[in-house]
């Protein structure tokens, strides 16, 4: 809905965050097809993650975080399914419960005065120091996006940092028949 210039401006339902898992054939151009559909039709990508699922089957999993009304997100799912190399699209928010996590690497500017506070906070969040040849203070934190957000907010209050984030990946937590 709300995709036509003829549409009424009334919002149909509220905008929500959705995590979509898209299984695709691992062939050249497939990622461009997926993100091109988003930009071409004016949809949002908040984050995007691509990795191979299994080597033998040549299938990749694209995890997309987007936001939109339920009408928009349902249209996104259908448009994704039109793409020839797409196997399946799963909206984890509609599947019921799911587990999500992301990783952030944080370069922390450390000094004698803030050292104690930094290490305390990292301990609290179970952020792990990554050893590296230059012995700089780089920490790794994993978990839900909210948790990573909180950590970044608090560490920012202590000192200057540089951050890279992976964006979330997610999986449905519904119990499956394990004999399958």
């Amino acid at each position: 809905m709300n995709k036509s210039v003829y549409d009424s401006p009334d919002q149909v339902s509220e905008t929500k965050r959705h995590i979509l898992t898209v299984l695709v054939d691992n062939e050249p151009g497939v990622l461009a097809r997926v993100i091109g559909m988003f930009s071409g039709r004016g949809y949002n990508i908040d984050s995007l993650n691509v990795a191979e699922v299994s080597n033998d089957e040549n299938i990749s999993r694209i995890t997309i975080v987007t936001h939109g009304t339920s009408e928009v997100v349902s249209q996104i799912e259908k448009q994704l399914l039109r793409i020839v190399p797409v196997h399946s699209v799963t909206n984890l928010d509609q599947e019921g419960s799911s587990v999500e996590a992301e990783v952030a690497l944080v370069y922390i500017y450390i000094s004698e005065t803030n050292k104690k506070k930094v290490y305390q906070l990292c301990d609290l969040y179970r952020a792990r120091k990554i050893e590296n040849e230059n012995n700089t203070t780089i920490f790794e934190i994993a978990g839900s996006s909210e948790r990573v957000n909180r950590f970044i907010k608090e560490i920012n209050e202590i000192t200057k940092v540089e951050i890279v984030r992976s964006g979330p990946v997610a999986i449905s937590s519904i119990k499956k028949n394990e004999e399958e």
Binding site: M1, S4, V5, Y6, S8, R33, G36, E71, Q79
Partner: protein
């Protein structure tokens, strides 16, 4: 290895196995090996166009008039970029096309080589699927998959980009039946899957008091059987039916149930019936903005059934009550079966009241126009063309603009696949090459491109093609020296400021035709018109008929942008209220 052949030979062998009879194309450096192979064989005919844009529209015209897949062969770089408009056109109107483009050899890809462009990148959003084939041994399987994808589900264009070194390389050919296409890459509708929905829909129709069928191009894409079944079902129900621009011909114009076309320049009775119906049965249409008008006032009190093969069309702009995903012929066949099995009967009394109401709307006579004087009215020209060609097997193509709408309003189609027009993309310059394609597919038929003076100039170079292949295509120009539809909008919405919509220095179309060794005819007044049309039909070669029509005629009725179905403008005198006109101005 003795069973290896070159990539170029694989291309031709794949085309032959797919039953391709004709290829529309234009040679160039990156496709020379394929053209060389083409030279050495006789089974596939090649039609040389004068610009690649003409090739793809010709392939579209061929595909839509024959039901087969249209094939295009062009070179890299500009060859490929020139087909982008046509690919987008085919994408919007769901036309099965396989487009082969040459590419620079692989070791040059990415080096900004001569005539290199990122063809698969450029065409990704305007094809159903595309390929860059790097391995000659995959070439035949790519071709067979491409043809299947182009025709499968909702048809569309597929592009295959082949680097020149792959065309020269040797590899093995695999036959069509050896190729297994994974099911997720195709759409396989199953009528059983939607059985409950179909039952629900049929029951809803049987209980309706004011039903209307709203028929789209999907019924034509589903094949001639679909049209037959749709006609049968509508007859059983006794319901009125309206068709979109793309759906004209699915139900015969002369059918007692037909209300003609709906939408922006559709029939008053069709739009009013859409507005007031209680059950709407959309078969193979997509609630396009030219059809719906203002969405929040679109058919406010109806239950809507939507049959479509493309799930993304469901609830895209209009929310429907009973969505059915499937192929028209399978779904409608099932509907008829269910209707008969349950001995459903529609409420006759209610239906009669509904028809009475429609009859009143018909009396408005929305296509009425002032036909005084001996200057030719464009509407009259189309009417005469219809009267003088209706007993001949005739294909009508159009360009885009006022003449297109007049053709849709005044030419009466009795059969599917006889009407070829660019509906979704609205491509000026479509009609003439499409007519060439239709004529190639139907050498004995009469093919007329109803054109405007502005549109025809967009692909006029194809005159040379038509004459070379002795294709007796007729170009029927409604010449008002304006880009008529642009002028009309400027008159209605922009205070009559005709910014750049008048074409000065038009060619003398008669001399233009003669310079291509075709026949040029001209009608200046109503006295000449019938003679010119008759002469045009009887002439055995390509003809341009330059019909001088009144210059400032507007196309009515019209739903102005931003208005609803029940707010149709029947003539210029009926001014819209200013507020909604201002609102509509920002819309297209």
């Amino acid at each position: 290895m003795n069973n290896e052949i070159t990539g170029a030979e694989i291309v031709l062998k794949s085309l032959a196995e797919q039953g391709v009879e004709v290829v529309f194309g234009y040679p160039g450096g990156a496709v020379l090996p394929i053209y060389d192979t083409l030279f050495k064989q006789n089974s596939i005919k090649h039609v040389l166009v004068r610009q690649e844009g003409g090739a793809i529209h010709a392939a579209e015209g061929y595909a839509r008039s024959t039901g087969k897949t249209g094939v295009v062969l062009v070179t890299s770089g500009p060859g490929a970029t020139n087909v982008v408009t046509g690919l987008t056109d085919a994408m919007m109107d769901s036309v099965p096309i396989v487009c082969i483009t040459g590419q620079v050899p692989q070791h040059l890809i990415g080096s900004d080589a001569f005539q290199e462009c990122d063809t698969t990148g450029i065409t990704r959003p305007c094809t159903k699927h595309n390929y860059l084939v790097k391995d000659v041994n995959k070439l035949s399987s790519v071709f067979h998959e491409a043809f299947t994808i182009a025709q499968n589900g909702r048809p569309g264009p597929v592009l295959i980009d082949i680097p020149k070194d792959v065309q020269f390389a040797s590899g093995t050919y695999e036959e069509k039946n050896k190729i297994v296409i994974p099911s997720h890459r195709l759409f396989e509708p199953s009528p059983d899957f939607e059985k409950n929905k179909i039952e629900e829909a049929v029951e809803l129709i049987s209980k309706s008091k004011k039903p209307i069928f709203y028929i789209g191009g999907g019924c034509i894409n589903s094949g001639p059987k679909a049209s037959k079944l749709v006609r049968e079902f509508i007859n059983i129900v006794g319901s009125p039916v309206t068709m979109t621009l793309m759906g004209l011909g699915v139900v015969a114009s002369s059918d007692k149930n037909s209300l003609g076309m709906l939408g922006m320049h559709g029939m008053y009775e069709a739009n009013m019936a859409m507005h007031e119906c209680d059950v709407m049965i959309n078969i193979g249409a997509r609630f396009d903005d030219r059809v719906t008008g203002r969405l929040d006032a679109f058919s406010p009190n109806s239950k809507k059934i939507h049959i479509d093969i493309d799930e993304s069309n469901i609830n895209k702009t209009i929310n429907v009550d009973v969505p059915i995903i499937g192929d028209v012929k399978q779904v409608v066949e099932k509907m008829i079966e269910i209707w008969k099995d349950n001995k459903f009967q529609i409420d006759d009394k209610a239906l009669k009241l509904w028809w009475d109401k429609i009859t009143k709307w018909k009396k408005v006579d929305c296509l009425n126009y002032n036909n005084e004087g001996n200057q030719i009215k464009p509407q009259y020209a189309v009417q005469r063309l219809y009267e003088l060609t209706k007993n001949t097997k005739t294909f009508i193509t159009t360009e885009v603009g006022q003449h297109q709408m007049w053709a849709a309003q005044f030419y009466k189609f009795e059969q599917p696949n006889r009407w070829l027009t660019s509906g979704g993309l609205g491509t000026m310059g479509y009609g003439f090459p499409a007519a060439i394609g239709a004529q190639v597919g139907h050498p004995d038929a009469l093919v007329v491109d109803i054109a405007g003076d502005a549109s025809i100039l967009m692909n006029i170079q194809e005159m040379s093609t038509a004459v070379q292949y002795r294709l007796p295509v007729k170009i029927f120009i409604l010449n008002n020296e304006y880009m008529g539809m642009v002028r009309q909008w400027q008159e209605l919405l922009h205070g009559g400021r005709y910014s750049e919509s008048y074409t000065d220095s038009l060619p003398d179309f008669v001399k233009l035709a003669e310079s291509y060794k075709a026949t040029g005819l001209r009608a200046k007044t109503t006295d000449d018109l019938d003679d010119v049309i008759t002469q045009m039909i009887e002439t055995k070669n390509t003809v341009i008929a330059d019909i001088w029509v009144t210059k400032e005629e507007n196309c009515f009725p019209m739903i102005q942008s931003g208005s609803a179905h029940n707010e149709m403008m029947l003539s210029k005198d009926q001014k819209q209220d200013k507020k909604s006109a201002e609102k509509g101005k920002i819309l297209v």
